[in-house]
Protein backbone atom coordinates (compact mmCIF):
# COMPACT_ATOMS: atom_id res chain seq x y z
CA UNK A 1 0.00 0.00 0.00
CA UNK A 2 2.83 2.35 0.95
CA UNK A 3 4.68 1.46 -2.23
CA UNK A 4 1.57 2.24 -4.27
CA UNK A 5 1.15 5.58 -2.51
CA UNK A 6 4.81 6.44 -3.03
CA UNK A 7 4.62 5.51 -6.71
CA UNK A 8 1.49 7.65 -7.15
CA UNK A 9 3.17 10.62 -5.45
CA UNK A 10 6.26 10.30 -7.67
CA UNK A 11 4.07 10.06 -10.79
CA UNK A 12 2.09 13.11 -9.68
CA UNK A 13 5.26 15.08 -8.95
CA UNK A 14 6.57 14.18 -12.41
CA UNK A 15 3.31 15.16 -14.13
CA UNK A 16 2.88 18.54 -12.39
CA UNK A 17 5.61 20.42 -14.32
CA UNK A 18 4.17 19.11 -17.61
CA UNK A 19 0.69 20.35 -16.69
CA UNK A 20 2.11 23.72 -15.57
CA UNK A 21 4.10 23.98 -18.80
CA UNK A 22 0.96 23.28 -20.86
CA UNK A 23 -1.17 25.80 -18.95
CA UNK A 24 1.47 28.49 -18.46
CA UNK A 25 4.21 28.04 -21.06
CA UNK A 26 7.29 30.24 -21.01
CA UNK A 27 8.56 32.01 -24.14
CA UNK A 28 11.85 30.08 -23.83
CA UNK A 29 10.06 26.72 -23.99
CA UNK A 30 8.10 27.60 -27.09
CA UNK A 31 11.09 29.23 -28.77
CA UNK A 32 12.97 25.95 -28.45
CA UNK A 33 10.01 23.94 -29.79
CA UNK A 34 9.22 26.04 -32.87
CA UNK A 35 11.27 26.40 -36.04
CA UNK A 36 11.99 29.58 -37.98
CA UNK A 37 10.53 28.81 -41.45
CA UNK A 38 13.24 30.78 -43.24
CA UNK A 39 16.45 29.67 -41.54
CA UNK A 40 15.06 26.30 -40.38
CA UNK A 41 16.62 26.42 -36.92
CA UNK A 42 14.71 26.81 -33.67
CA UNK A 43 13.53 30.31 -32.84
CA UNK A 44 15.84 30.62 -29.86
CA UNK A 45 18.87 30.34 -32.14
CA UNK A 46 17.56 32.52 -34.95
CA UNK A 47 17.87 36.25 -35.50
CA UNK A 48 15.86 36.32 -38.74
CA UNK A 49 13.15 38.96 -38.99
CA UNK A 50 10.36 36.37 -39.20
CA UNK A 51 11.79 34.62 -36.11
CA UNK A 52 11.74 37.94 -34.25
CA UNK A 53 8.08 38.43 -35.20
CA UNK A 54 7.25 34.88 -34.13
CA UNK A 55 8.86 35.51 -30.73
CA UNK A 56 6.76 38.66 -30.31
CA UNK A 57 3.65 36.68 -31.26
CA UNK A 58 4.49 33.98 -28.68
CA UNK A 59 4.76 36.61 -25.92
CA UNK A 60 1.49 38.23 -26.98
CA UNK A 61 -0.37 34.91 -26.95
CA UNK A 62 1.10 33.88 -23.57
CA UNK A 63 0.04 37.26 -22.15
CA UNK A 64 -3.46 36.63 -23.54
CA UNK A 65 -3.60 33.35 -21.60
CA UNK A 66 -3.25 30.88 -24.48
CA UNK A 67 -1.99 27.38 -23.62
CA UNK A 68 1.07 25.81 -25.21
CA UNK A 69 -1.05 23.56 -27.44
CA UNK A 70 -3.18 26.47 -28.59
CA UNK A 71 -0.15 28.58 -29.49
CA UNK A 72 1.48 25.68 -31.34
CA UNK A 73 -1.77 24.96 -33.21
CA UNK A 74 -1.95 28.60 -34.33
CA UNK A 75 1.60 28.46 -35.67
CA UNK A 76 0.88 25.16 -37.46
CA UNK A 77 -2.19 26.75 -39.06
CA UNK A 78 -0.05 29.54 -40.51
CA UNK A 79 3.23 27.79 -41.26
CA UNK A 80 2.31 24.10 -41.50
CA UNK A 81 3.51 21.16 -39.34
CA UNK A 82 7.11 21.86 -40.39
CA UNK A 83 7.15 24.70 -37.85
CA UNK A 84 7.26 22.15 -35.01
CA UNK A 85 10.76 21.17 -33.93
CA UNK A 86 9.45 17.81 -32.69
CA UNK A 87 6.92 15.96 -34.89
CA UNK A 88 3.46 15.45 -33.37
CA UNK A 89 2.65 12.03 -31.89
CA UNK A 90 -0.25 11.53 -34.28
CA UNK A 91 -0.90 11.00 -37.99
CA UNK A 92 2.18 10.96 -40.23
CA UNK A 93 4.31 12.50 -37.46
CA UNK A 94 3.80 9.33 -35.40
CA UNK A 95 6.02 7.49 -37.91
CA UNK A 96 9.00 9.57 -36.79
CA UNK A 97 8.48 8.22 -33.27
CA UNK A 98 7.66 4.62 -34.19
CA UNK A 99 10.24 3.91 -36.90
CA UNK A 100 13.34 4.26 -34.67
CA UNK A 101 11.67 2.08 -32.02
CA UNK A 102 10.76 -0.50 -34.66
CA UNK A 103 14.33 -0.39 -36.03
CA UNK A 104 15.84 -0.87 -32.58
CA UNK A 105 13.43 -3.75 -31.85
CA UNK A 106 14.22 -5.52 -35.12
CA UNK A 107 17.96 -5.05 -34.56
CA UNK A 108 17.66 -6.41 -31.00
CA UNK A 109 15.74 -9.47 -32.25
CA UNK A 110 18.33 -10.15 -34.99
CA UNK A 111 21.25 -9.73 -32.57
CA UNK A 112 19.46 -11.94 -30.00
CA UNK A 113 18.83 -14.66 -32.60
CA UNK A 114 22.45 -14.59 -33.74
CA UNK A 115 23.69 -14.72 -30.13
CA UNK A 116 21.36 -17.62 -29.32
CA UNK A 117 22.39 -19.61 -32.39
CA UNK A 118 26.06 -18.88 -31.79
CA UNK A 119 25.96 -19.93 -28.12
CA UNK A 120 24.00 -23.12 -28.93
CA UNK A 121 26.42 -24.01 -31.71
CA UNK A 122 29.37 -23.47 -29.37
CA UNK A 123 27.83 -25.66 -26.64
CA UNK A 124 27.18 -28.53 -29.00
CA UNK A 125 30.55 -28.45 -30.73
CA UNK A 126 32.84 -31.20 -29.32
CA UNK A 127 36.33 -29.99 -28.56
CA UNK A 128 39.39 -31.46 -30.31
CA UNK A 129 40.42 -34.85 -28.91
CA UNK A 130 43.11 -34.71 -26.23
CA UNK A 131 46.50 -36.05 -26.93
CA UNK A 132 46.60 -39.55 -25.25
CA UNK A 133 49.83 -38.66 -23.43
CA UNK A 134 48.33 -35.42 -22.13
CA UNK A 135 45.16 -37.26 -21.13
CA UNK A 136 47.18 -39.77 -19.14
CA UNK A 137 49.14 -37.03 -17.40
CA UNK A 138 45.95 -35.17 -16.55
CA UNK A 139 44.46 -38.31 -14.99
CA UNK A 140 47.63 -38.83 -12.95
CA UNK A 141 47.63 -35.24 -11.72
CA UNK A 142 43.96 -35.34 -10.81
CA UNK A 143 44.43 -38.63 -9.00
CA UNK A 144 46.85 -36.89 -6.63
CA UNK A 145 44.02 -34.70 -5.34
CA UNK A 146 41.61 -37.53 -4.66
Amino acid sequence: MRALLATSLVALAAALPAVASEERPTPAELESELICPVCESTLDTSNAEIARRMKVKIRQRIAAGATKSEIKAEFVKDFGPGVLAVPPKEGFGLLAWLLPLAGISVAAIVVGLFAWRWSRGRAEEPGPPLDPELDRRLDTELARFE
Binding site: P37, V38, A48, E49, I50, R53, K57, D78, F79, G80, G82, V110, L113, F114, R117, W118, G121
Partner: protein, 185 residues
Amino acid sequence: MTVARLRLGAQVAAVGIVAALLGLLVWKVARGTGNDVTGSLVEGGTPAAPAFSLERLDREGELELASLRGKAVVLNFWASWCGPCREETSLLEKGWKRWQEKGVVFVGVNVKDFRGDARSFMRRYGVSYPNVYDGKGSTVGRYGVTGYPETYFVDARGRVVYRIAGEVRDPDELDEGIERALAAA
Protein backbone atom coordinates in the same frame (compact mmCIF):
# COMPACT_ATOMS: atom_id res chain seq x y z
CA MET B 1 15.98 -21.38 -39.34
CA THR B 2 19.70 -21.88 -39.84
CA VAL B 3 22.41 -19.32 -39.17
CA ALA B 4 23.22 -19.32 -42.88
CA ARG B 5 19.61 -18.37 -43.73
CA LEU B 6 19.58 -15.69 -41.07
CA ARG B 7 22.82 -14.29 -42.36
CA LEU B 8 21.52 -14.30 -45.94
CA GLY B 9 18.32 -12.53 -44.83
CA ALA B 10 20.31 -9.88 -42.98
CA GLN B 11 22.58 -9.38 -45.99
CA VAL B 12 19.60 -9.03 -48.36
CA ALA B 13 17.97 -6.54 -45.98
CA ALA B 14 21.19 -4.53 -45.67
CA VAL B 15 21.66 -4.42 -49.47
CA GLY B 16 18.00 -3.41 -49.85
CA ILE B 17 18.35 -0.56 -47.35
CA VAL B 18 21.55 0.70 -49.00
CA ALA B 19 19.89 0.53 -52.46
CA ALA B 20 16.84 2.43 -51.17
CA LEU B 21 19.04 5.15 -49.61
CA LEU B 22 21.03 5.41 -52.85
CA GLY B 23 17.81 5.73 -54.85
CA LEU B 24 16.64 8.47 -52.50
CA LEU B 25 19.92 10.32 -52.94
CA VAL B 26 19.76 10.09 -56.75
CA TRP B 27 16.11 11.26 -56.72
CA LYS B 28 16.96 14.20 -54.45
CA VAL B 29 19.96 15.24 -56.55
CA ALA B 30 17.98 14.95 -59.81
CA ARG B 31 15.08 16.89 -58.31
CA GLY B 32 17.36 19.60 -56.96
CA THR B 33 18.98 20.42 -60.29
CA GLY B 34 16.70 21.50 -63.05
CA ASN B 35 13.42 19.98 -62.02
CA ASP B 36 12.16 23.18 -60.43
CA VAL B 37 11.23 26.23 -62.49
CA THR B 38 14.37 28.22 -61.67
CA GLY B 39 16.65 25.30 -62.55
CA SER B 40 14.88 24.79 -65.86
CA LEU B 41 14.96 28.52 -66.69
CA VAL B 42 18.68 28.64 -65.99
CA GLU B 43 19.12 25.78 -68.47
CA GLY B 44 17.24 27.81 -71.11
CA GLY B 45 13.88 26.08 -70.81
CA THR B 46 10.38 27.47 -70.50
CA PRO B 47 8.95 25.18 -67.83
CA ALA B 48 5.27 24.88 -66.99
CA ALA B 49 4.34 27.07 -64.05
CA PRO B 50 3.56 24.72 -61.13
CA ALA B 51 -0.16 24.82 -60.40
CA PHE B 52 -1.51 26.14 -57.13
CA SER B 53 -4.78 27.03 -55.52
CA LEU B 54 -4.27 29.30 -52.52
CA GLU B 55 -6.29 31.39 -50.11
CA ARG B 56 -6.66 35.01 -51.18
CA LEU B 57 -5.46 37.82 -48.96
CA ASP B 58 -7.20 40.64 -50.79
CA ARG B 59 -10.65 39.10 -50.60
CA GLU B 60 -12.51 35.91 -49.64
CA GLY B 61 -11.95 32.64 -51.47
CA GLU B 62 -9.09 31.03 -53.33
CA LEU B 63 -7.17 31.84 -56.46
CA GLU B 64 -6.20 29.04 -58.81
CA LEU B 65 -3.30 29.75 -61.16
CA ALA B 66 -4.98 27.66 -63.87
CA SER B 67 -7.91 30.11 -63.89
CA LEU B 68 -5.55 32.73 -65.35
CA ARG B 69 -4.66 30.59 -68.38
CA GLY B 70 -4.86 32.75 -71.52
CA LYS B 71 -3.33 35.76 -69.75
CA ALA B 72 0.22 36.81 -69.03
CA VAL B 73 0.86 36.57 -65.29
CA VAL B 74 3.47 38.34 -63.15
CA LEU B 75 4.01 36.11 -60.11
CA ASN B 76 5.74 37.93 -57.28
CA PHE B 77 6.92 35.96 -54.22
CA TRP B 78 7.19 38.22 -51.17
CA ALA B 79 6.96 38.47 -47.39
CA SER B 80 6.13 41.39 -45.11
CA TRP B 81 9.34 40.87 -43.11
CA CYS B 82 11.51 41.22 -46.23
CA GLY B 83 13.09 44.67 -46.69
CA PRO B 84 13.59 44.56 -50.49
CA CYS B 85 9.93 43.50 -50.86
CA ARG B 86 8.91 46.83 -49.33
CA GLU B 87 11.22 48.68 -51.73
CA GLU B 88 9.79 47.12 -54.90
CA THR B 89 6.09 47.26 -54.00
CA SER B 90 5.38 50.73 -55.40
CA LEU B 91 7.07 49.79 -58.69
CA LEU B 92 4.95 46.63 -58.94
CA GLU B 93 1.77 48.55 -58.10
CA LYS B 94 2.52 51.09 -60.82
CA GLY B 95 3.29 48.26 -63.23
CA TRP B 96 -0.04 46.59 -62.42
CA LYS B 97 -1.88 49.85 -63.15
CA ARG B 98 -0.08 50.23 -66.47
CA TRP B 99 -0.56 46.65 -67.64
CA GLN B 100 -3.86 45.40 -66.27
CA GLU B 101 -5.91 46.80 -69.15
CA LYS B 102 -3.67 44.90 -71.58
CA GLY B 103 -4.71 41.57 -70.12
CA VAL B 104 -1.75 41.16 -67.78
CA VAL B 105 -2.44 39.91 -64.24
CA PHE B 106 -0.15 40.54 -61.28
CA VAL B 107 -0.37 37.99 -58.46
CA GLY B 108 1.49 38.36 -55.18
CA VAL B 109 2.34 35.13 -53.36
CA ASN B 110 2.96 35.88 -49.70
CA VAL B 111 5.15 33.15 -48.22
CA LYS B 112 6.29 32.13 -44.72
CA ASP B 113 4.50 35.02 -43.10
CA PHE B 114 1.59 35.81 -40.79
CA ARG B 115 -1.69 36.53 -42.57
CA GLY B 116 -2.24 39.60 -40.39
CA ASP B 117 1.23 41.00 -41.17
CA ALA B 118 0.69 40.38 -44.89
CA ARG B 119 -2.66 42.22 -44.90
CA SER B 120 -1.20 45.13 -42.91
CA PHE B 121 1.63 45.36 -45.43
CA MET B 122 -0.82 45.43 -48.34
CA ARG B 123 -2.89 48.18 -46.72
CA ARG B 124 0.17 50.21 -45.76
CA TYR B 125 1.73 50.09 -49.23
CA GLY B 126 -1.55 50.31 -51.15
CA VAL B 127 -1.25 46.97 -52.93
CA SER B 128 -4.31 46.50 -55.14
CA TYR B 129 -3.37 43.49 -57.28
CA PRO B 130 -4.52 39.97 -56.26
CA ASN B 131 -2.52 38.34 -53.49
CA VAL B 132 -2.55 34.81 -52.12
CA TYR B 133 -1.26 33.35 -48.86
CA ASP B 134 1.26 30.49 -48.74
CA GLY B 135 2.40 30.48 -45.13
CA LYS B 136 3.75 26.93 -45.42
CA GLY B 137 5.80 27.86 -48.48
CA SER B 138 4.36 24.96 -50.50
CA THR B 139 5.08 26.77 -53.79
CA VAL B 140 8.63 27.81 -52.90
CA GLY B 141 10.35 24.49 -53.65
CA ARG B 142 8.39 23.80 -56.83
CA TYR B 143 9.25 27.19 -58.30
CA GLY B 144 12.79 27.03 -56.96
CA VAL B 145 12.54 30.40 -55.27
CA THR B 146 16.05 31.30 -54.15
CA GLY B 147 15.21 34.32 -51.96
CA TYR B 148 12.72 37.11 -51.42
CA PRO B 149 11.45 38.83 -53.37
CA GLU B 150 11.50 36.85 -56.61
CA THR B 151 9.32 37.43 -59.67
CA TYR B 152 8.31 34.98 -62.40
CA PHE B 153 6.66 35.85 -65.72
CA VAL B 154 4.16 33.30 -67.03
CA ASP B 155 2.82 33.34 -70.58
CA ALA B 156 -0.77 32.65 -71.68
CA ARG B 157 -0.04 28.94 -72.10
CA GLY B 158 1.11 28.69 -68.50
CA ARG B 159 4.85 28.57 -69.23
CA VAL B 160 7.41 30.51 -67.22
CA VAL B 161 9.49 32.57 -69.64
CA TYR B 162 11.48 34.92 -67.41
CA ARG B 163 12.48 35.51 -63.81
CA ILE B 164 13.87 38.37 -61.77
CA ALA B 165 15.75 37.22 -58.66
CA GLY B 166 15.66 39.83 -55.91
CA GLU B 167 14.05 43.23 -55.88
CA VAL B 168 12.61 44.61 -59.13
CA ARG B 169 14.41 47.95 -59.32
CA ASP B 170 14.01 48.88 -62.98
CA PRO B 171 10.57 49.40 -64.56
CA ASP B 172 12.12 48.54 -67.93
CA GLU B 173 13.12 45.10 -66.67
CA LEU B 174 9.58 44.54 -65.42
CA ASP B 175 8.23 45.58 -68.83
CA GLU B 176 10.72 43.30 -70.56
CA GLY B 177 9.52 40.31 -68.56
CA ILE B 178 5.89 41.12 -69.36
CA GLU B 179 6.63 41.64 -73.05
CA ARG B 180 8.38 38.26 -73.19
CA ALA B 181 5.33 36.65 -71.57
CA LEU B 182 3.01 38.36 -74.06
CA ALA B 183 5.23 37.51 -77.05
CA ALA B 184 5.46 33.84 -76.11
CA ALA B 185 1.67 33.40 -76.21
